[in-house]
């Protein structure tokens, strides 16, 4: 493992526990995302890895076997992209990118060569001589990335690198960032609250909740086989079906569904895209709302479950509100998980 984290916890002065003892292993060249709602401890974990925050005693941060935990941030050789980018307003784009190399006391011509290389890689040639204040948000984000990457850090850390951009730009830059990180071939950890961002960029995603890693795995694994209700809800917006599970069958107000397994004592969840409107489905429901979203309709259904059930319906037309429809949910699409203790 390139980066090994053991027993990383953080208690803030005053007793608030931002991070429960956490272990994490990241291999060479891997891009890992820390995904979770605000206050879940993801940024704290990233800042501890960077050395900007001190973990509680007993923590271990090892990079290829070498203990990093005692090093101050300036000697950890980690690149960091900040949410606000933290570009130096008193320096040009070039000087920002070259700053880390200057700190390594490299000769002038080596710095220039490396800065040129990174500028070309990040396609920043037209902006190299500009002042930071003369750049757009997207350009600043690339400069921040170039600046963090230029000194050849052993680890790249990104704290919500896209959240300062407006929504239209974010989508395009997300794919660009994913491509650049792959091109860099660098081990990277990036923090986000946006599941699409995590899925699009990361090899593995660690979903965090209330200071703990709820599950870590590939985006597909998290989506298809969530281990708990939080992950099911947060990744892909699974909705609880409610009802009662008895011997492989789920009893709901609108009918009875067959489950793939026995699953007594568990709770059932389903994603809107797995709810199908079919003529001979086992569930009866009344259409409550219909929202046209271009590629599909989002239909709110009443009567099948205790709460409103949503269905993503693809087709040229949709049922009207008030109509009664029949629904089917494939047994393998129903996620049976341990019930949530309390609302997270």
């Amino acid at each position: 493992m390139t980066l090994t984290l053991r027993n990383i916890a953080k208690t803030f002065p005053g007793g608030a526990r931002a991070l429960m003892p956490t272990d994490l292993d990241i291999s060479e060249g891997e891009i890992v995302s820390l995904l979770g709602p605000s206050g879940c401890g993801k940024t704290t974990l990233l800042r501890i890895i960077a050395g900007l925050e001190t973990a509680d005693p007993g923590a271990q941060i090892r990079f290829k076997g070498e203990d990093m935990g005692a090093l101050p941030v300036e000697r950890r050789k980690v690149g960091m992209v900040f949410q606000s980018y933290a570009l130096f307003p008193n320096m040009s784009v070039r000087s920002n990118i070259g700053y880390g190399l200057k700190m390594q006391s490299l000769p002038r011509d080596q710095i220039d060569a490396r800065v040129d290389e990174v500028i070309a890689l990040c396609r920043l040639e037209p902006y190299a001589g500009r002042a930071i204040t003369a750049l757009s948000g997207g350009q600043r984000q690339r400069v921040a990335l170039a600046r963090a990457f230029a000194p050849r850090p052993r680890l790249l850390l990104l704290d919500e690198p896209l959240s300062a951009l407006d929504a239209a730009l974010r989508g395009a830059l997300r794919d660009e960032l994913a491509a650049l990180l792959r091109q860099f071939g660098i081990t990277a950890i990036f923090v986000t609250h946006d599941q699409d961002e995590a899925m699009a960029i990361a090899d593995r995603v660690a979903v965090m909740s209330q200071g703990r890693v709820a599950q870590i795995g590939t985006p597909e694994a998290l989506y298809r086989a969530p281990e708990n209700a939080f992950v099911a809800r947060f990744v892909g917006n699974a909705l609880p079906l409610g009802g009662l599970i008895e011997d492989g069958r789920l009893h709901l107000p609108g009918g009875v569904l067959t489950l793939a397994g026995h699953s007594n004592g568990k709770a059932a969840f389903v994603r809107a895209e797995d709810v199908k409107i079919v003529a001979d489905g086992p569930l009866a429901a009344t259409v409550e709302t219909v929202t046209f979203l271009g590629t599909h309709y989002r239909i709110g259904l009443r009567g099948a479950t205790h709460e409103t059930l949503f269905c993503l319906h693809q087709g040229v037309s949709a049922p009207k509100p008030g109509e009664t429809v029949r629904l089917a949910i494939a047994p393998q699409s129903i996620l049976t998980l341990d019930p949530e203790k309390a609302a997270a």
Partner: protein, 262 residues
């Protein structure tokens, strides 16, 4: 006039300008006329200026020296102090800010008296120009600290420093590469205020000065009290010629620095 509001605005502005300029011009002319009581008929001369130079050039150089020394000391103390305060906001910092601002509220005379009571017996110190310097530093330091602090508070200093640290910069490098350049508009504005205040400071200096250590304003008072009006006016003229370009130059520098950080 089509617009009566504009007319009113113009007249008030011109009146205010005249109110400030007429006495200035009169004073300047008084320093340049051969005999003020006979008026301009007696002719114009630069003689009074040479007389002032002979009598008071040591005061002028002393004031410049003290102002520069005061600037150096307030920079060395004030910039790191403002930085420390910006990095550690809290009740203690607020209390400290109020404390160093006290000399603004206390009359210079009282401050000078306190200095005399405390250090008056150390003859070597009491008779040296550094005694006046201490008074000036006490009086001008809050201007430097507040000016730098307000700029530092307006930028996200913590994150900028974290950025520099992640790129391998230690605390000293961060201070020189990040803190000082980004605080520059505040430092320049503070420097402008410190030098101007130090050169013009009278009431504290008047208490602290000795017959051998007269600063420019103290010399001015001396000339008003004991010299003829033409000499006093010529002295005022020299004061103007010194302070106005200084003010303009530093204002230009501070405006330029302000643009860089926007």
């Amino acid at each position: 006039m089509k617009n009566p509001g504009r007319f009113l605005q113009l007249s008030v502005t011109l009146l205010a300008a005249a109110f400030l300029l007429v006495p200035t011009i009169q004073s300047v002319l008084a320093g340049l006329t051969v005999n003020y009581f006979q008026g301009l008929r007696s002719g114009l001369t630069l003689n009074w200026i040479f007389v002032v130079w002979d009598l008071y050039s040591s005061s002028i150089f002393l004031s410049l020296g003290i102002a520069l020394a005061c600037l150096v000391v307030t920079l060395i103390i004030g910039v790191p102090a403002a930085y420390a305060m910006a990095r550690n906001p809290g009740r203690l910092t607020r209390a400290l800010e109020e404390f160093i601002s006290l000399p603004l509220a206390i009359p210079g005379l009282a401050l000078a008296l306190a200095l005399l009571q405390l250090y008056g017996t150390y003859k070597g110190f009491r008779l040296s120009w550094t005694f006046i310097l201490v008074g000036h530093v006490l009086y001008t330091l809050p201007f430097m600290v507040r000016s730098v602090l307000s700029v530092l508070a307006a930028i996200d200093l913590k994150t900028l420093e974290e950025g520099a640290a992640s790129l391998g910069a230690g605390p000293a490098r961060r201070f020189i590469d990040i803190v000082v350049p980004n605080a520059l508009p505040g430092i320049l504005a503070g420097a402008l205020t410190v030098v101007t205040l130090s050169i013009g400071e009278f009431n504290l200096t008047w208490m602290l000065h000795t017959p051998y250590l007269k600063t420019l304003p103290v010399g001015l008072a001396d000339s008003y009290a004991s010299m003829r009006l033409e000499i006093a006016s010529a002295y005022t003229l020299i004061f103007f010629v010194m302070i106005v370009p200084l003010l303009l130059a530093m204002q230009w520098a501070s405006a330029r620095a302000q643009r860089i950080t926007q």
